[in-house]
């Protein structure tokens, strides 16, 4: 778990964002290319690489889905590039219904209220699929990892919905 080590935080799906942000700034203060502006070109290249890696680590650790995928891949289960589709008809059915609902939002009598209501549903789903992740990823049982992988795949759907919702919110604002 190199990223956790890099940021000097415990390997745990539940992170302390304030500590991560604080340590991030300390790390950048040490490696950022601007701190090496008068060094040789080789040093500068090294600084750019290190700073980019720290930025990448931050993005990964901060994002709930990326963080889970990263932890899982470090355990030997890499699902980041998989093409596999989800085998859960019930879940997929629910997703289709939610998508239809999403498309109707723009025509709702009170779009603001409809968006807020939909947002609450997304939050509920997010909670449902991420609540077990911390325990699953901390486990040494491979079956738990597979269960985590399944939760992450579902979370990805939920995050896509959230993105779509934001796009719709934007377009409603922009008239």
């Amino acid at each position: 778990m190199r990223y956790f080590e890099l940021f000097a935080i415990p390997v745990d799906y539940n992170i302390d964002l304030a500590t991560i942000n604080k340590h991030y700034l300390e790390l950048q203060r040490a490696v950022h290319p601007d701190r090496h502006a008068s060094s040789s070109s080789r040093d500068k290249l090294l600084a750019v690489q290190s700073a980019a890696e720290i930025n990448d680590a931050l993005q990964t650790l901060k994002h709930p889905v990326k963080r889970a995928e990263y932890m899982l891949s470090e355990l030997g289960v890499d699902i980041r590039a998989e093409q596999q589709t989800l085998q859960d008809p019930l879940f997929l059915m629910q997703q289709m219904e939610l998508r239809e609902e999403l498309e109707e939002l723009e025509n709702a009598a009170d779009p603001d209220a409809a968006i807020a209501q939909f947002e609450a549903q997304i939050k509920q789903l997010d909670k449902q699929y991420s609540s077990e992740l911390a325990a699953q990823l901390a486990s040494s049982d491979e079956q738990q990892w597979q269960a985590a992988a399944d939760n992450i795949r579902k979370l990805k759907f939920v995050y896509k919905l959230r993105e779509e919702l934001e796009r719709i919110e934007d377009s409603l604002f922009d008239d």
Binding site: H32, D43, V48, A52, N55, D56, D170
Partner: protein, 620 residues
Amino acid sequence: MALLQIAEPGQSAAPHEHKLAVGIDLGTTNSLVATVQSGEARTLTDLAGNAMLPSVVQYQADSIVVGEQAAAAATQDPANTLISVKRFLGKTQAEIEKSYGQLPYEFCEHDGSLAISTVAGAISPVTASSEILKTLKQRAEDSFAGQDIMGAVITVPAYFDDAQRQSTKDAAELAGIKVLRLLNEPTAAAVAYGLDSGQEGIIAVYDLGGGTFDISILRLHQGVFEVLATGGDSSLGGDDFDSLLVDYFKKQTGVSELSASVLRLFINKAKACKEALSQYQTVNVGLEFDGQSHKVEVTRETFDELALSLVKKTLRSCRRAVKDAGIENEEVLQVVMVGGSTRMPIVRSQVAAFFDKEPLTSIDPDRVVALGAALQADVLVGNKPDSDMLLLDVLPLSLGLETMGGLVEKIIPRNTTIPVARAQEFTTFKDGQTAMSLHVLQGERELVDDCRSLAKFSLKGIPAMAAGAAHIRVTFKVDADGLLSVSAMEKSTGVQAEIQVKPSFGLSDDQVANMLKESMTNAKDDMQARMLKEQQVEALRVVEALDASLATDSALLDEQELGALKAEIAKLVAVRESATTPTEIKAAIEAVDNASSEFAARRMDASIKKALQGQSVDEV
């Protein structure tokens, strides 16, 4: 501390001697140069005491005039007097015509990139920009009795794309300026304000210049200026407000077809009228041309009505930036106004209403960017070794690749903190396919046609395999200047795919090198001598940097390693003195670079470990 420092021959006697570094605001309408003296940033003036250099270059058959004098010639000689060329950097003729309508120039193509026909030949926007930079460089050197400039921080609009940034850097190279950093204008302004006020929290920088608009949301915390989000429009600025007035003049006078010089007259009058309206409620504009005489009355109310839609456009960018930053309007502690165009009352009142806060204008909006850039340059050149200032900027526009059906797949989303590196894997879709072409784009839209084309790459030499078997890993890297580079590799065989870069806009490296050569011969300058001097300065920099590193971290090397490195450094010091060609020094610098690479890597590791010392896992 020793009272007397004894230096070896060839070594600088005072390693912490103040170095001349400048901040340059290369603006659409005006440009400025500033430097830090006795801890304070100040703009440098010309002999007449003016800090602002109009960004105007007049080309004559055998001379080039820059600044005020060139601006004065604009109405008589519109075709050869290049104004607001910054708007043309990294653009095509079609884009320029679409954005700016009628212009008094004759565009042409020169070596496959955009140029303007003048009596002195085809002039590219990069060349014209380099003339402005040369003038500012000269001003700085004259201000300090001919002392050489060690480097410059040059500001660019935050919303500049890769082609526009690269063009700016090319212009600096042409002017013989070492670019320490391209710095985003709003970030520079934030530095000037932040260091001045010492306040911490979230600030918004609203920067409306002559030709560009930026909005940046930053978090200030213990010397760190962290850009959370940025947005804007790289072709919206004061010039567009002028052009609204030009249209209004046309309507009022009933004159629709304007010659180049009358158009320039209208634009100048429009600019003056706009500026006067920031002070007065009503302005009478006299337009005299071709034997005609017209008087047009413009009230502030009329102007505000004309301008409102443009101002609203900037506010939409503000809303998106606030949202991208993941904050609410109320969390914005201060709103900083930058750029001459923020003097317009309609802009101030609309921005105040949007953020529900009276915007700050305590530092001259024309100078604040140059001052901030000078402060950053001072740190980068090493004049303030104890400074804890750090600027963390973001990528303004998403980077992506063209995929099937003319769609863009985003590889790095906008507002990602830079520097950043991201890799994406692709595969072949035909058996035995050995080449692949990739199209790099920048922008937020889904269709290729709606995004900015940055470059087209051909990957050749992919080993022949069954369709889908080759895994080509394309890596995008964006450095701290916001500049992109791309590399590619076939994974299973490790074959580094050959990349051909063809910039869609701007100039290729060869073109820049050629222009540099041409400009040298034209100026009857001795290119060899200049390059030798550049390498001598570079060698000195390398030696000083290594000496400083060795002074603190030599323990990271064993005796043998240390001896080998010191020997290479000593060689470089000697070569620097004795060399008669730049290549000799260059080779010696490379040797030192190679000898010090392990040392550099160990130092970086050590500094990462040290950064979080005492914050180990158990203590958290």
